[in-house]
């Protein structure tokens, strides 16, 4: 069962090949056997999952099942789930039981899916390797000495290892697409505003976006159908109709115009990664697409702009973790300032503190215009680059990451870690959607092809990705770990 896609599992449930309870038990068992080595889960909600599975089976028996009823999945521990610990990978929230469900969680639950638990992540979604989790690093199932990518590394590793058929992630600067690439799965970051952020613990509000991570683009289409849409509880979610993303998956690609941003193929790109990406582009040409080089001239400003805007928002968003109302509180505070400083010093990890300090600095009087205001101007230029490019081409393609997954502990310098997101970050600054699909291997580790579209072009991205997956089988390859450890 674990080598099947969500689409295949849904068909099997429908035909009665097995029940949701059997399916859920199967994955729970795999988690129990294998996750000790992977560390991809923070919390497993076995009992609750089995109850939900039984309810799903009853629903199906009564003839009330919808497309995904009875499908197990996992949620990044950034989604608030009622009655379940929601830690966001932080000691700060190690004791936090959310009293409500995120809109995404509510929608998935209403669609009849089953949550097996909460997946590991970089603390407060800050990181590109999943080494910043209070609950320890996640390991890449393709090579346990490699990182799974961050910050949705737990979700990516769990799907890749076949511990769950799909998982939800969030992407602020590449946190769905980069781990999807590192773990050889498909991950979609929708347009900013396509999926409600309500109940997702905020890192950088103007960049955060939730999206599905699964084995195939088709699976992602099914999941996006469920989670997309306007939410009155999130003012930045867009009131715009949600198409059926599965309906256009098989549209032919002849005439598709692909742009290759020259800035995505420059210095620092691993040659094997480049080869895999260029080979993938050739597949598209064989499917009738035309290819041309385009330029996104402000690309090299994306990382500096991101590391002004994201920490600025984060420094404000994380102010609420002060030990007063919930979360970690230091022992026996002497006074108010002691309560604040020690609770925060003890509760936050190094990377989170670093970004809070950066953000506090860039927003402070005398620096605001030089940093924040400037970064917002750069952001507009970056967005305009994309809009200009989409005047000429339908989609952009390039690598999701300059290298395949690197070794755990390999990147000690924060800036070299920040550069991992060089191809993904601009997408969040522009608010456009992007998807990473498996497209080969480099040094035995997966390579992700990143496909970008204009705002609300998710249907097109999924179509383009699905057609590639119809023509290739990279997305069906499972790591040896998936077979050996469960």
């Amino acid at each position: 069962m674990h080598d099947k896609t969500v689409t295949q599992l849904a068909a099997a449930l429908k035909s009665g090949e097995f029940s949701s309870r059997e399916l859920t038990s199967h994955f729970l068992q795999r988690i129990e056997q294998a996750d000790g080595k992977l560390n991809s889960f923070i919390t497993v909600t076995a009992e609750q999952a089995l109850k939900q599975a039984e309810a799903a089976d009853q629903l199906r028996a009564a003839g009330n099942a919808s497309a995904l009823t009875g499908i197990p999945l996992a949620l990044k521990d950034i989604f608030c789930t009622q009655g379940v610990k929601t830690s966001c990978g932080s000691k700060m929230l190690d004791n936090f039981i959310a009293p409500y469900n995120a809109t995404v969680v509510e929608k998935l639950s209403a669609a009849g899916t089953i949550s097996l638990g909460k997946t590991n992540m970089d603390e407060f979604a800050m990181g590109s390797s999943n080494e910043n989790s209070y609950f320890g690093a996640v390991k890449n199932p393709w090579d346990l000495s490699a990182v799974p990518g961050g910050s949705s590394g737990g979700s990516a590793a769990a799907v890749a290892a076949g511990l769950v058929p799909a998982a939800m992630g969030t992407d602020t600067g590449g946190s769905i697409r980069q781990p999807a690439a590192f773990c050889g799965i498909t991950g979609l970051k929708p347009t900013y505003g396509r999926v409600s952020r309500y109940g997702i613990i905020a890192y950088a509000s103007s960049l955060d976006q939730a999206g599905p991570m699964a084995r195939s683009a088709e699976d992602c289409a099914h999941l996006l159908n469920v989670i997309a849409g306007h939410d009155v509880r999130d003012s930045t979610s867009v009131a715009r109709g949600v198409p059926d993303y599965t309906e256009t998956l098989n549209a032919p690609l002849s005439g598709l115009k692909i742009g290759l941003p020259k800035e995505y193929f420059g210095d620092g790109l691993d040659p094997e990664v480049e080869k895999a990406v260029r080979d993938a582009v050739k597949v598209y040409e064989s499917l009738g697409a035309t290819v041309r080089e385009v330029s996104l001239p402000h690309t090299h400003y994306a990382i500096p702009a991101y590391y002004v805007i994201a920490p600025a928002e984060a420094s404000s968003n994380l102010s609420r973790y002060d030990g007063v109302r919930f979360g970690h509180r230091c022992d026996a505070p002497a006074d108010l300032i002691d309560l604040y400083t020690r609770s925060r010093a003890e509760g936050f990890g190094e990377e989170v503190k670093r970004r809070i300090l950066i953000g506090t600095h860039t927003l402070s009087e005398g620096f605001f215009d030089a940093y924040y205001t400037k970064a917002q101007k750069v952001r507009r230029l970056i967005r305009q680059d994309f809009l200009d490019a989409f005047e000429d081409v339908d989609v952009l393609m390039g690598p999701a990451s300059p290298t395949p997954a690197f070794d755990l502990g390999a990147k000690k310098d924060p800036v070299s870690m920040y550069l991992q997101d060089i191809y993904t970050i601009a997408v969040n600054l522009a608010g456009i959607p992007g998807i990473s699909v498996p497209a080969g291997f480099a040094a035995g580790r997966p390579v992700g092809l990143q496909i970008l579209g204009t705002h609300f072009a998710e249907a097109q991205l999924l179509n383009v990705a699905h057609q590639f997956q119809q023509a290739t089988d990279w997305h069906l390859k499972l790591p040896a770990f998936a077979e050996e450890n469960a």
């Binding site: 989604f79 608030c80 929601t86 966001c88 929230l93 936090f96 959310a98 009293p99 409500y100 995120a102 952020r197 309500y198 109940g199 997702i200 613990i201 905020a202 950088a204 509000s205 103007s206 009155v232 509880r233 999130d234 003012s235 930045t236 600025a312 928002e313 420094s315 404000s316 994380l318 102010s319 609420r320 002060d322 007063v324 109302r325 919930f326 108010l336 604040y340 506090t360 927003l363 402070s364 009087e365 605001f368 924040y372």
Partner: protein, 484 residues
């Protein structure tokens, strides 16, 4: 040296929305701590704000009422600082693009002249919670019921020159917001409070002196007293060779003084930046016109109309237009009796006196505008005389009867205007007062006028106050003079 005082006010008005500015929780006052705070107000992880449209409409109405520019786009910003009763670690406010731009407010001074105070801008923001220091030994309790309550902060230009002007300005704002119905204006419950910026400078000097900000003054009287104290403090300080430091001060009404709270050096860096969770507020002309069409008549317009159309004095017009309730009461009395001057006299005289004595507001007046109007009508048509009118008023005030007519009937207060009946009473009084008649007759003619008062009193007494005094006077004089 001659000193000039410069005063600017930041008035915080709590808007009378049903729910909070960014959540659906109730804004009602006085509930048990933390029973009116939802996940959004508590700042729980993952929650997001959703702007209350009613708060926007109220802010815009205020802007229209003060003839302000209403920018097409306004933006919410985050003001970042740590405080236990500030759940998110920031207050959502408007720093760079407020919802209401420059406008002006007319104030009325004691001598009934008016002055224009410019408004710099007004912006929307959320209130914080409340720290409770009592009942918790060595600890502080936090009540977040107030967190997220919508506030409109109205920032004036430094246009006021003395404490009286500042108080008049605060009253004018109070009057506008209550007229609009966008706030209950209840200062005791904190629905309106203000920060006062005060500085002094030598008369004739253009540059402002260093200002002190007095925080959270919550009554008209305290505003006057805090300013009076602060002005005196600053002048004495400078005259003694010291300098005023820019600082935040607190007014202590018990001791009637201001005290330093924090100096500029200790001031926070609020790190304002646009709130990424909220979209800019975009208002189109049609929306503004819609709100404009719903504006009630405002105090300044009412005051002008009372003078020009109803012929009231500047003073009467000003007093009667000061509050919406007072104005509406007066207008109803006027509608019923048809005489503006009489209506004004009664509302400001008998009624205001009675309300004052019992510390009642006009909303709680035991006598209704219809009743008072009916009473005045009966005076105007000579059904009762002034003396009886006061009795009727008292009876209505005490709830003895539903209308003036009913009271007049029940108490037999109808004025006797029948000449025959009056003559009979006069004849009887003259017959029963031979000594007084003799005295009258023997008096110097110029003193007789005074003496007639005795006879009038006797006749009125005999009529139990119902005789028409003018008539009694005339007939008496004729009859007594006939005896000379």
């Amino acid at each position: 040296m001659q000193w000039e005082t410069v005063i600017g006010l930041e008035v915080h008005v709590q808007l009378a929305t049903r729910s909070k500015i960014f959540s659906g929780a109730s804004t009602a006052f006085g509930a048990e701590p933390n029973t009116q705070a939802c996940a959004v107000d508590l700042g729980l992880p993952g929650v997001l704000p959703v702007l209350n449209e009613q708060a926007v409409a109220m802010a815009v109405q205020f802007g229209l009422a003060i003839h302000a520019d209403i920018p097409e786009v306004s933006v919410f910003d985050r003001k970042n600082y740590f405080y236990p009763d500030l759940p998110k670690g920031y207050q959502t406010s408007q720093m760079y693009h407020p919802i209401v731009g420059a406008g002006e407010v007319e104030i009325t001074l004691d001598d009934n002249t008016t002055k224009c105070i410019r408004i710099h801008h007004a912006h929307l923001e959320e209130d914080a919670g409340k720290s409770l220091h009592e009942d918790f030994h060595g600890m502080t309790g936090i009540d977040l019921n107030r967190a997220g309550t919508p506030l409109l902060e109205i920032v004036s230009e430094p246009d006021m020159r003395n404490a009286k002007e500042a108080a008049a300005y605060l009253k004018a704002i109070h009057s506008i917001v209550t007229y609009l119905g966008i706030s209950d204006g209840n200062m005791a419950e904190g629905s309106m409070r203000c920060d006062v910026n005060v500085s002094v400078r030598p008369k004739g000097q253009e540059a402002f002196g260093t200002r002190a900000e007095i925080k959270n003054v919550n009554s008209f009287r305290f505003v006057e007293r805090a300013i009076a104290f602060e002005v005196e403090r600053q002048i004495e300080l400078i005259e003694d060779g010291g300098t005023v430091v820019q600082e935040t001060r607190l007014f202590d009404p018990e001791r009637d003084e201001t005290r330093s709270m924090r100096t500029k050096e200790e001031a926070n860096d609020y790190r304002y930046f646009p709130c990424p969770d909220l979209l800019p507020v975009v208002l189109d002309q049609a929306y503004l016109e819609h709100l404009r069409s719903q504006l009630p008549e405002l105090p300044a317009d009412k005051r002008a109309r009372f003078q020009t159309e109803l012929g009231l004095s500047a003073y009467d017009a000003s007093v009667l237009s000061a509050s919406r309730e007072m104005a509406e009461f007066f207008e109803e009395v006027h509608r019923v009796c048809g005489d503006a001057k009489q209506a004004a006299n009664w509302v400001q005289g008998e009624l205001a006196g009675a309300l004052n004595r019992e510390s009642l507001s006009i909303q709680n007046s035991p006598i209704s505008a219809q009743q008072l109007g009916g009473l005045i009508s009966r005076v105007l048509d000579d059904t009762i005389n002034g003396k009886a009118a006061k009795q009727v008023f008292q009876a209505l005030w005490n709830g003895q009867g539903s209308s003036a007519d009913e009271v007049i009937e029940a108490k037999g207060l109808k004025q006797v205007t029948d000449t025959g009946a009056i003559e009979a009473m006069i004849d009887q009084v003259i017959a029963e007062s031979p000594a007084q008649v003799a005295q009258y007759r023997d008096s110097e003619p110029e003193k007789r006028g005074k003496m007639i008062g005795y006879f009038v009193g006797q006749v009125m007494k005999a009529s139990r106050g119902t005789a028409n005094p003018q008539q009694v006077n005339g007939v008496l004089k004729a009859k007594l003079d006939a005896l000379l």
